[in-house]
């Protein structure tokens, strides 16, 4: 009775092998079959013979050569315990974005650093107390633009320019002077803005007269 039951059970799994060959097996049955192959190695040999028969029937030809390759492969994999994982799959997917994000962050940090350096307030300190790479006197500016102070040597007093401003604050000082000039000019012009002058377009004429006075 036990032999008959074993034979029936064996036939049941051979049917599953046959269906698996044809893609007619569901996942649960496949897992059940794979588990059974572990305890019943003859099923593995049956699977191999089924495919040999298929090759012969389909005209692909059969051969005894290479029948041991699967045994060698299985032995090697069992020894080394390799498990295929999707190594680096997600890493490969996000790598371009990670690089772009890194470059963007770097650019932002550099920008912040640069901005912090350029907005540092310029303080007036004695020239000797301020280490500068280069320092040069800031030329006083008149309405016509920069006017150089002529250098003089010898006994007459040398008109010294104000304490040298570090090169880093040069443009800030220049901008401040420009702003003062502009503000003053604008204030004078603003006093001339009357509804009448704006409407009649005589503002420029009125400004010219104000300058002459």
């Amino acid at each position: 009775m036990t032999n008959r039951q074993d034979a029936m059970k064996n036939a049941e799994y051979e049917v599953l092998l046959s269906r698996l060959m044809d893609g007619d097996l569901d996942e649960f049955s496949t897992q059940r079959l794979l588990k059974q192959i572990e305890v019943q190695p003859s099923l593995r040999t049956t699977w191999q013979r089924y495919h040999i028969s298929r090759q012969a029937i389909s005209g692909s030809g059969v051969s005894f050569a290479g029948l041991s390759i699967a045994d060698r492969v299985r032995e090697e994999l069992e020894q080394h315990g390799s498990v295929p994982v999707r190594r680096g799959f997600w890493l490969q997917q996000i790598r371009p974005f990670a690089v772009a994000a890194s470059v963007a962050c770097f650019g932002v940090l550099v920008g912040i650093q640069w901005q912090q350096q350029t907005v540092q307030p310029v303080t007036s300190v004695a020239a000797s107390a301020v280490p500068t790479v280069r320092s040069m006197p800031v030329m006083p500016i008149d309405a016509a633009g920069l006017q150089a102070i002529p250098a003089s040597f010898g006994q007459s007093q040398v008109l010294r320019s104000p304490a040298p401003v570090p090169i880093e604050g040069l443009y800030q000082e220049l901008a401040r002077q420009r702003l003062e000039l502009y503000s003053g000019h604008h204030a004078a012009a603003g006093a001339l803005h009357t509804p009448a002058t704006l409407m009649t377009g005589t503002l420029a004429k009125a400004e010219a007269e104000a300058v002459k006075r």
Binding site: V15, D24, V62
Partner: protein, 203 residues
């Protein structure tokens, strides 16, 4: 008709998915299925029998380790044939031999008769055993009852699905399933007798 032919790709899908999760048993079944065809492809580059089998073994190991990268864009056998081809070429380069001037196309490798390539690898005894095996299978199929032979040949030779075979034979799919299995079982009894008698050649 519904279903059409059942390709290897569809038949391998479940096993490939199990193998990608690390199931060595599933991969083992795939190796058993494709070892001859892979060896045949390698044989085109590597003429020495022992070397060819070593390269085949190496190819399957590489394939297993790279299974995580297989996304099903191509059929599994196409993918593994490509690995086998590259492994064979690398083997030749490593041994400082000239790589073949004419390369082989993977599609051609899939279609070509692998038996012809493998026969060059066989010893004279293996060649005789192979010939006997082919004759046994041919006789076994011819001796099958008509319905079993028809179902089996439509499946193995024409690659038709169970649904199409059921439509052709005008019977339920369950009947087709049963007939195909019984045909295989009958042929397998003959094949097992030959292979068990020739066990020394299979190792």
């Amino acid at each position: 008709m519904s279903g059409g032919s059942v390709t290897d790709e569809e038949a391998d899908r479940l096993l490939v998915e199990r193998a990608q999760k690390g199931d060595l048993r599933a991969f083992d079944l795939l190796v058993l299925k494709y070892q001859h065809r892979v060896l045949s492809v390698i044989r085109r580059f590597v003429k020495d029998a022992d070397e060819a089998q070593d390269v085949a073994q190496e190819s399957f190991i590489k394939a297993f380790n790279a299974l995580g990268q297989f996304r099903g864009d191509s059929a599994f056998y196409t993918w593994i044939f490509r690995i086998a081809t590259n492994t064979a070429k690398n083997h030749l380069v490593a041994r400082a031999r000239r790589t073949p001037v004419v390369d082989i196309d993977i599609d051609d490798a899939v279609l070509q008769d692998e038996g012809e390539q493998l026969r060059d690898l066989e010893t004279p005894e293996e060649a005789i055993a192979t010939q006997e095996l082919e004759q046994v299978i041919t006789r076994a199929v011819a001796s099958l009852p008509d319905e079993l032979r028809t179902a089996l040949c439509l499946r193995e030779f024409d690659g038709l699905s169970y649904e199409d075979i059921a439509a052709i034979m005008d019977c339920p799919i369950g009947t087709v399933r049963s007939r195909i299995f019984r045909g295989r079982e009958t042929v397998d009894r003959e094949v097992a007798a030959v292979m068990n008698g020739e066990t020394s050649f299979a190792q």
